[in-house]
């Protein structure tokens, strides 16, 4: 039986949110393929970590515990993950598209000579017929992602060279506990036999990590700005409206690239995926890379001076106008009517 393996990120006693989201998706795929869901956890002080992972329906945890693995380091973590994959031969391996996942996944894919698709927005199971060789491949992983600046959506498959590997951004899949009392099996991985001193040639000198100050993913109201906002100063209007409504400010990639707003607030395929009850898109044209990260919002209001902006097609309300004009009016009339 070829199973589904999720590489779980672990830091400061916690499994990463993105990993739990992937386990949730992995469980569904495993049910569909009638195989097991497995997790690889590599780190130090892993005692009790299974309690965070089993409720998502994880059948097996490969646990590699070693004091030297407290913080993520590419070479030792890659070596251990390669070992786990070679020993257990999963058909699918999933990674978060984080700085950790995007560091380890290509290294491991290269060593195993298998395919890897980055930043998938959807994963499905399906067949593929290859005309040239008249071969049908059953139950492949369809790795679906926007491509080429978001102008197209591509379905990528790895017919021959398995495992099939993919990375997925945080927030794209939904975190869903299957059974709080679910119990799977733990398999210990002997790190001593896998690791060499040469795996530690890159040394961490210093770390300055902060808890994220921005919490866009869980915000019920998001005011997002695009390149059309025009300036950092105009973004202050968005912050004012967000503060007033109890929401957060997000931005499109174009706004981040233009330096209007920090990367942490980027929404879309290469940023965060959000599902708020209200999404106000200010000066965002609506490339699919952006809409992939927000089109499940319950209500979308688009403010744009281009009546033909693509985002207007998925909006519930379209306001034709300039940001500097419309947003202050929204602030004014909210204040006037909210009491």
């Amino acid at each position: 039986m070829k199973n589904i393996l999720v590489y779980c990120e672990f830091e400061d006693g916690l499994i990463g949110d993105v990993s739990l989201e992937l386990l949730s998706k992995g469980r569904k795929l495993a049910n569909q393929l009638n195989c097991r869901l497995e997790a690889a956890i590599i780190g130090a002080n892993l005692k009790g970590v299974e309690k965070q992972v089993f409720p998502y329906g994880t059948d097996v945890i490969y646990m590699a515990e070693d004091a030297r693995l407290e913080h993520f380091l590419n070479l030792p973590h890659s070596a251990i993950l390669q070992h786990i994959i070679r020993e257990n031969n999963p058909q699918i391996v999933l990674f978060g598209a984080t700085s950790v996942g995007r560091d380890i996944a290509p290294r491991v894919a290269s060593a195993l000579r298998c395919g890897l698709t980055a930043d998938c927005t959807s994963l499905e199971i399906g067949d593929h017929y290859e005309k040239k060789s008249d071969t049908t491949y059953k139950d492949l992983l369809y790795q679906i992602r926007p491509a080429f600046g978001g102008n197209i959506v591509a379905t990528i498959i790895n017919p021959e060279m398995h495992p099939q590997m993919a990375t997925v951004r945080e927030g794209v899949m939904k975190k869903e506990i299957v059974d709080a009392n679910f119990k799977g099996k733990i398999v210990k991985v002997e790190t001593e036999k896998i690791l060499n001193d040469t795996d530690f040639v890159v040394k961490i000198i210093e770390r300055h990590l902060e808890k994220s100050k921005v919490n866009i993913k869980n915000s019920g109201i998001i005011i997002a700005g695009g390149y059309g906002v025009g300036s950092k100063e105009n973004f202050n209007l968005l912050f004012e409206l967000a503060a007033l409504l109890g929401g957060e400010v997000g931005g499109s990639r174009a706004a981040v690239d233009a330096g209007y707003i920090e990367h942490e607030r980027q929404i879309g395929q290469t940023g965060v995926t959000v599902r708020p009850k209200l999404y106000i898109a200010c000066g965002i044209s609506g490339a699919i890379q952006h809409t992939a990260g927000m089109n499940e919002s319950a209500m979308i209001i688009s403010i744009n001076n281009d009546p033909h902006a693509p985002i207007n097609q998925i909006a519930d309300y379209v306001i034709n106008g300039e940001i500097a004009d419309v947003v202050p009016k929204m602030i004014k009339f909210y204040k006037k009517n909210s009491k």
């Binding site: 560091d103 600046g149 197209i152 300055h208 034709n320 004009d325």
Partner: protein, 292 residues
């Protein structure tokens, strides 16, 4: 430092997907590359700058720009030379067509081996036409050397090591590695310096052999006098790559389907920016508890 540092910069010519117009897609759903300007991949410019800063402090360091692509990608090498790189190679061959990231990283690793000993490889974290961030780590693995991804700043370079600050989601991490090492650089690193007028004068006539084939005779005479004007091309045979690991046959990932993006249009309510209409909307949102 007395040792001559050998640095390779990996750079890619990409279509400028950031400024895609309405005519970027053809009627059949394929990308109309002809209308998209070809540019130096932005994060590769950050990588070039990081390499140039190492050279600023170690003037006898040698920077080689390596790019893979069609003949017109020679432009990337000229751009590198204009900014302070010492030489460049264009890895070009029809057999590369259809390569995914795995096949691409194999080709690059073969070319790097062909170039000989090196201490540092810098490249952009990712290219804007794919955003995969895979080729750097894959090439490092194929070369059997460690990688440092998401590099933002070089803090120290010694005879045999480099200390780099990485930019992560929630902060920074400083790591130290001994040579050789491959480093991928994020867009938050220092912007690349402008072209240097002196280097532009020196290298503006630099051409690849293919480009020279179309050049006038007096041009060839010029090149003979100034051999640094020749940009070397590397083929599959030159870098002794195995065909089966290249192109479609060397690429595990296949594109099964491409769809044009079609929005299923909702029936949006369209408002103007008139006071009354915006006030009405805010009242409605308050009334149905969307806000407030």
């Amino acid at each position: 430092m007395t040792k001559k540092l050998k640095i390779i910069v990996l750079a890619k010519q990409v279509p400028d997907t950031r400024n895609v117009g309405k005519d970027a897609m053809k009627a059949d759903g394929t990308v109309n590359r002809a209308v998209l300007p070809a540019i130096f991949n932005p994060e590769d410019l950050n990588a070039l700058e990081m390499a140039l800063r190492v050279k600023d402090k170690n003037p006898n360091a040698e920077i080689t720009v390596l790019t893979m692509g069609p003949g017109r990608a020679a432009e990337i090498i000229r751009e590198g030379l204009y900014r302070g790189a010492d030489r460049g190679f264009l890895l070009t061959d029809r057999k590369f067509a259809g390569s995914d990231t795995l096949a691409t990283s194999y080709a690059i690793s073969c070319a790097v081996k062909k170039l000989g000993e090196f201490d540092l490889i810098f490249g952009g974290r990712q290219a804007i036409d794919g955003d995969t961030a895979q080729v750097g780590p894959q090439a490092a693995e194929k070369l059997g050397i460690p990688q440092i991804t998401y590099a933002e700043e070089t803090l120290e370079v010694t005879n045999n090591s480099i200390t780099v600050k990485r930019r992560l989601e929630r902060g920074t991490e400083t790591v130290k590695a001994t040579f050789p090492v491959l480093i991928t650089v994020t867009g938050s690193a220092a912007d690349c310096r402008a072209r240097n007028a002196k280097f532009v004068m020196k290298y503006k006539h630099a051409r690849t052999i293919s480009e020279l084939a179309d050049a006038a005779e007096d041009y060839i005479a010029l090149k003979t006098k100034r051999p640094y004007l020749q940009i070397d091309e590397l083929s599959v045979a030159d870098v002794q790559a195995d065909d089966t690991f290249l192109g479609l046959s060397g690429s595990p990932t296949k594109v099964k389907a491409i769809e044009n993006v079609v929005f299923i249009a909702k029936d949006a309510k369209v408002l103007s920016n008139a006071n009354e209409e915006i006030e009405e909307l805010m009242k409605e949102l308050i009334a149905n508890h969307t806000i407030g």
